[in-house]
């Protein structure tokens, strides 16, 4: 325990927690927007996986991480089109079609990795950027203001998406489509167009989340996300479909993940209990979900395809 309570380890643990939170947050924010419009996308994890592989492969071949990030987001958009086509146009059962996208992503990313790479050669992780002045604050600076640009982006998107959802015409339409698509339709709002846009945005965010995860360590491996996409979907419920709430959930998950990894590495958690300890983040999230989510109401039309006149 004494090792864990040193200044260096504590600050590094919190800094890791912030970094771990970022990819959950990006995926969950995208899913939040989609769910607010009434579309449940359970394919987030699969999109993250293919986005991460796309980012990895491009970064490995070109040495350009940012090009990899763009490719990851582009893959997200393409898979978003597929998801939206199934969920919105074909009106498929959203849970099942999402699981299909997940399985597709899991299998394809592994296949491409084995076929085109094989050995998980590292790419350069994104460098940490120190925020002037703020990064000089003792302890706090190292924990919060010495992160990669994608981590900052994830947290900056929280107020940005809140603003769009609650203070813009487009956000009002999204919320209306999620709560009462028939009424929105009667007002001339295209439910299909709104839902396509939110699903595309959410999937692009999932691809970005995969790229962010990849560039934390600069390594790809089979099932890199280890169900992070499903955790992100759970965090949307945890956060009661509000960006700020989703951020809180992501931070809780990130902190527990970082602490468990740190304790395992430093021998505070014995090897025999390591597997049990690894489940801690999920258990904490589920408990928090039970406590928090039950108090809030989901978007009324969540998961229901819209059929005019039905």
């Amino acid at each position: 325990m004494s090792h864990f309570l040193t200044y260096n380890v504590l600050t590094a643990t919190v800094a890791s927690a912030i970094a771990y939170s970022s990819y959950f947050l990006l995926a969950a924010l995208g899913e939040t927007v989609g769910q607010r419009s009434g579309v449940l996308n359970l394919g987030v994890d699969g999109i993250m996986l293919i986005g991460a592989f796309g980012c990895y492969y491009v970064a490995l071949e070109t040495g350009n991480d940012w090009l990899g990030v763009l490719v990851g987001m582009g893959i997200g958009v393409v898979l978003g089109l597929l998801t939206a086509f199934m969920s919105v146009t074909l009106k498929a059962q959203q849970g099942i079609s999402g699981i299909g996208v997940f399985i597709f992503g899991l299998g394809l990313s592994d296949l491409l990795f084995v076929r085109f790479v094989g050995t998980p050669l590292p790419v350069s992780p994104l460098p940490n950027v120190a925020i002037p002045l703020l990064s000089k604050i003792p302890a706090v600076g190292r924990m919060f203001f010495h992160q990669s640009l994608l981590v900052y982006l994830a947290f900056l998107l929280v107020p940005a998406i809140s603003f769009v959802l609650y203070h813009t015409n487009y956000g009002t339409k999204v919320l209306a489509v999620g709560e009462n698509p028939a009424a929105a339709d009667s007002l001339g709002i295209s439910v299909t167009r709104i839902r396509y846009s939110t699903v595309l945005f959410g999937s692009m965010m999932a691809g970005l989340a995969g790229a962010t995860l990849l560039l934390l360590d600069g390594i790809f491996q089979e099932d890199l996300t280890q169900s992070a996409g499903f955790i992100a979907v759970a965090l949307v419920y945890f956060g009661a479909w509000r960006p700020a709430g989703v951020m809180s959930g992501s931070l809780v998950y990130g902190i527990v993940t970082a602490v468990v990894l740190q304790w395992k590495s430093l021998g505070i958690i014995p090897t025999s209990a390591a597997d049990l300890a690894a489940t801690a983040p999920a258990i904490v999230t589920i408990l928090a979900l039970v406590v928090v989510a039950g108090r809030y109401k989901a978007p009324t039309e969540l998961g229901k395809p819209y059929v005019r006149g039905a």
């Binding site: 380890v9 050669l121 590292p122 360590d217 600069g218 390594i219 990894l261 590495s265 390591a274």
Partner: protein
């Protein structure tokens, strides 16, 4: 009657005289054959092809465990007349079991299950295919099966040498050791490395952890980050999953010691040296045994002493001369037996 016998006797004598010229011919042929056989080199290519299958957990170019075995097999391909088939990336034991069974059914002479995790699979399969030879490692047990070979790497030896060097190089006196699962050569290496550090610097803090996975690159990376955060300035690790940890060593500019394969290409400025496996001594004994009809029941190992292991110093790393000299002295002592590294 006597005359008939006489006639018969003279006929036989005349026949034997008739073929008398065959005697020197047969003698010459026998002599030439003997000379040819005895003069042939001991490693002459056997005529019968030995069909060898390798089932490995990671990629053939993993810069670690699998690549070391693939290189050794390919190196012996001609001299032992091998037909080699390889299935890699079989981290999932159940999938690997199907592949191993499939090779055995296809009549391969030897199926190498290259991973400590495959032991129970071989224990179940070997009795069902008594004419097929199986080999697995790193491990010490053949399960008393007559058609299972086991092989081990005395990685504690190179681990000790590199640990001693780490102790000399570390300025923070804090060193991180990361293993996958505490079995086989991974366990031996980590134990040896730790012993080497403490032999040189008894006051050093040596963090050691096992991720519980041979394949999880990110867990190994996370452990490396934790150690660097705690002040470690030297790291090492074993298994195919070290690439992430090497990445951490690279971005944090801390020294890295490799094992199983030369890992200097992954971080030329940080990798000090690597313990490189060469499985040829093990494979040669197994191939010779199979050709002699012995399908298993023995355990072989590679070590610094039989050239199955060597320490490859990274020429790009500015290693102080005294550290390198000490390492070479320790290697010499291990090879000549004056230093024994405990297991």
């Amino acid at each position: 009657m006597k005359n008939e016998m006489k006639e018969g006797g003279s006929k036989m004598r005349s026949k034997s005289l008739k073929y008398r010229w065959l005697v020197p011919l047969v003698t010459v042929v026998a002599l030439v054959s003997t000379v040819l056989v005895t003069a042939a080199p001991a490693n002459a290519t056997p005529k019968k092809t030995l069909k060898v299958a390798l089932v490995a957990p990671s990629a053939v170019n993993d810069l670690a465990f699998t690549q070391s075995m693939v290189a050794a097999l390919n190196g012996l391909k001609k001299s032992y007349n091998l037909k080699i088939s390889i299935t890699d990336n079989e981290f999932v034991v159940a999938d690997a079991a199907n592949v191993i069974r499939s090779y055995a059914k296809k009549g391969y002479n030897l199926v190498i299950a290259h991973g400590s995790q495959y032991g129970s699979t071989l224990q179940q399969l070997a009795p069902k295919f008594p004419k097929v030879s199986f080999a697995w490692g790193t491990a010490g047990s053949t399960f008393n099966e007559p058609n299972i070979y086991a092989y081990e790497a005395e990685s504690n030896e190179g681990g000790y040498v590199q640990g001693y060097m780490a102790g000399m190089l570390s300025k923070s006196h804090t060193i991180g050791v990361i293993g996958p699962i505490d079995v086989g050569d991974a366990q031996l290496y980590c134990d040896g490395f730790k012993a080497g550090v403490l032999a040189e610097d008894p006051t050093a803090t040596v963090h050691e952890s096992f991720t519980g996975s041979f394949s999880d690159v990110t867990l190994m990376s996370s452990a490396a980050k934790a150690y660097v955060a705690d002040g470690a300035d030297v790291l090492t690790g074993s298994s195919q999953s070290v690439v992430g940890a090497i990445g951490v060593a690279k971005t944090s500019s801390v020294a890295w010691f490799g094992t199983q394969w030369d890992q200097s290409t992954l971080a030329p400025a940080e990798v000090v040296s690597s313990q490189v496996y060469n499985w040829k001594p093990v494979l040669e004994q197994i191939f010779t045994g199979i050709r002699a009809g012995k399908l298993g029941g023995a355990t072989y190992d590679i070590s610094l002493g039989n050239n199955g292991e060597k320490i490859a110093f990274n020429p790009s790393y500015p290693l102080p001369a005294n550290v390198k000299a000490q390492a070479q002295k320790l290697i010499g002592e291990i090879v000549d037996g004056s230093l024994t590294v405990a297991q």
